[in-house]
Amino acid sequence: MSPTSIFAPLSTPAESIFELSILVLAIAAAIFLIVAALLVYSVVKFRRKRNDDGREPAQVYGSLQVELAWTITPVIIVLVLFLASARVVFAVQDAPRTKDSLEVTVVGHQFWWEYRYPGLKVVTANELHVPVGTRTFLNLLSADTDHSFWVPRLAGKTDLIPNHPNGTWIEPRETGLYLGQCAQYCGTQHAKMLLRVYVDSREDFDRWARQQAAAARDDGRVAQGRRVFEQTACINCHTVSGTAANGRFGPDLTHLMSRGTLGAGVVSNTPENLRAWIRRPDDFKPGSLMPPMGLSESQLDAVTAYLSTLQ
């Protein structure tokens, strides 16, 4: 079973779309079967026979009744499809906030996802956590070019366009990890701007949010690594809250170790991968906008050790 199938919805908007799609598919299938059958029939029945006498068949130039019949029937079908679709358009696009709905701001970047929870003072990247059974509204912005947020089992896709705020919402019914990826070509690494949405139980989500809102852990044992981090250009792009690093160009690293993957879902978050990523991101994601930092092997060890403490 594909984790990204549009026919396995587990959230209200995706379910509304799914129900509509059944109607649309049924009508399309019926039309196909009827017309294809007529085509096959006519090709077989009216083929020129071997014993053909060579005379031309009766020339029929048209028939008003027939034309009316096959005009009016499609018009009726169109009306049915239109009304069914319009109903879902309004229901999904104009869905109201509920009293416990959550607000998340999603900012698309080349080639990663920034998530801000204004009410909870959380800023994180690439892995979105939401509570189950709750309506979460995603306010979609972009820092650079066009992107699109598509997690098929949760909702249809909605684009992130600079200077054009957008919105979508999800209301997942079951906990679990939902996958997706950017669905609007945004440059070299569009293909690896993956989406991971963790739908947690209410308690798990609250715990996660509290942990994310806390400042970065300050572990003295990795002071050397922290120095490397702060004295190289890392702090120009990345934020580690409570430290000198407050760059916004790259993902927030305050709780990097709470994430299961690196590089927007590209590789799993292990010390080896982390070290290799810092050494040369292009090894995993050629064309990503993080340059190789030119660190020595010991610097790499130190920085990796430091980042590994950022739970």
């Binding site: 594909s2 239109f82 679709s85 896709k157």
Partner: protein, 557 residues
Amino acid sequence: MATTDVGWIDAGTRPRPLVDRLHEWVTTVDHKRLGLLYVGYGLLFLVIGGIEATILRLQLVRPHNGFVSPQVFNQMFTMHGTTMIFFVAMPLVFGFANYLVPLMIGARDMAFPRLNAFSFWLTAFSGLFLYFSFVGGFGLYGAGTAPDVGWFAYAPLTSKTFSPGHSTDYWTLALLVSGFGSIGTAINIIATIASMRCPGMTLGKMPLLVWLNLVMASLVILAVSPLTAAQIMLLVDRYLGGHFFDTQAGGSAVLWMHFFWVFGHPEVYVLVLPAFAFASEIIPVFSRKAMFGYPVMVAATVAIGFISMSVWAHHMFTVGMTSAGNTFFVLTTMAIAVPTGIKIFNWLATMWGGKIYFKAPMLFCIAFLFQFLIAGLTGVMMSSAPFDWQLGNSYFVVAHFHYVIVGGILFCIFAALYYWYPKVTGRMYSEALAKLHFWLFVIGFHLTFDSMHVPGLLGMPRRIYTYEPGRGWDTWNFLTTVGVVFQAAGVLAFVFNLVRSYVRGRPAGNDPWDAWTLEWSTTSPPPEYNYATVPVVKSRRPLWDLKHPEDPDWKYE
């Protein structure tokens, strides 16, 4: 008697030097030669675009493949799409229009022969210019590399910030120049049809091919111009510091989308209406019956032309238009399915009660009917905006539009190339080779494009150079790639057939198909002046009237 050779008044003495013959082709203003130049150009770029597609499919045959880098992949899909639309489909469409329209209306040439030549050479030059982008990047200062912004080049990806260098400029300038060529040809087609029909050929007596090309040309005028405007604006942004689409200065990325799709949607009707034209000429002849419902076919065509200008934002259902805005475009898009379906029914009714000859042109048209039906239905699925929120920008869309362009339009182009081959060359093609081409291509087409729908339904977006395993996409991508082999083999058989038959095909005579429109009344190939005396017609099928004087069409029309 002059001692210099004068073209076709060749008394059978030694052949003219190659240089002279090439010079004739380069300086020709004859609509037939320009038509052949356009078609030859389009077929050449079809092969090139096909190679680009093969590279894409080889990279996508399995997940995490390393056949090409992401940078090259992104250039490949951009160039593949741009090539196929602007330097394959448009030239083929204009080539056929050029060759056939004057012949079918009993005229001796197009209205503006020199404009005709100029338009062709503009298009030809701009295609070469676009391809120069591949070589221009290495060594030549500032010449850039091939564009990689996708064939619809969304802003702000195309701004100087995100596309430094000149790769985007190759895209913009090539299409700007070829757009002028397209508009020139469209003006020519309209003026020819309006002003040069032979006596008796009222608008209601023109062959359907002529009607469809008239509406197509009108759409070119109304649709290519907005693209021209948008490209000028993009150049102003990139080179004069303008802010039309500069989102960092308050400009709108969505505005580019609107302008592009105001062009982009009618453009697909520009491509498909001539395909309908071919089907409308071929199906009656090979069913031995007049076209069923000619007036309705004309009305449906005009309706499609008008409605097609109002559906463009169905390419933008996910960009955050209001619910009312989205709903409007749902309605117009669904509405256009009605006249389109009517056409399918009329073609079926033409076959109904007829005597169907399964020659290559008809085989390709029958496949077209089946495939275009499916393509239209997947289009209807996406016209339902909520369904499109899942299907849009995924491989489902890619499958849909290839179903239309390859399964619909290219199949009709193959049909037309076989149907008019005898007229153009004076020789019959090999029916056996043509059937081989047909079956290889049908198998390959369905293997590739039927399979391609499924990853879209399973969440695979378009324009990705690789994908994750474990999402259920792998097998379908593999099958999609396998189909390429059969299509390539089919095209090889096709090219071989065209070339071999030119040399060894049996002479065709004026009218090998026992057809009914004017072009079959002149020689194969036609003389440079087309008709010794200007024909006078009384019905839509002048040759039927001649062949059946006891039962002419004009009694029933």
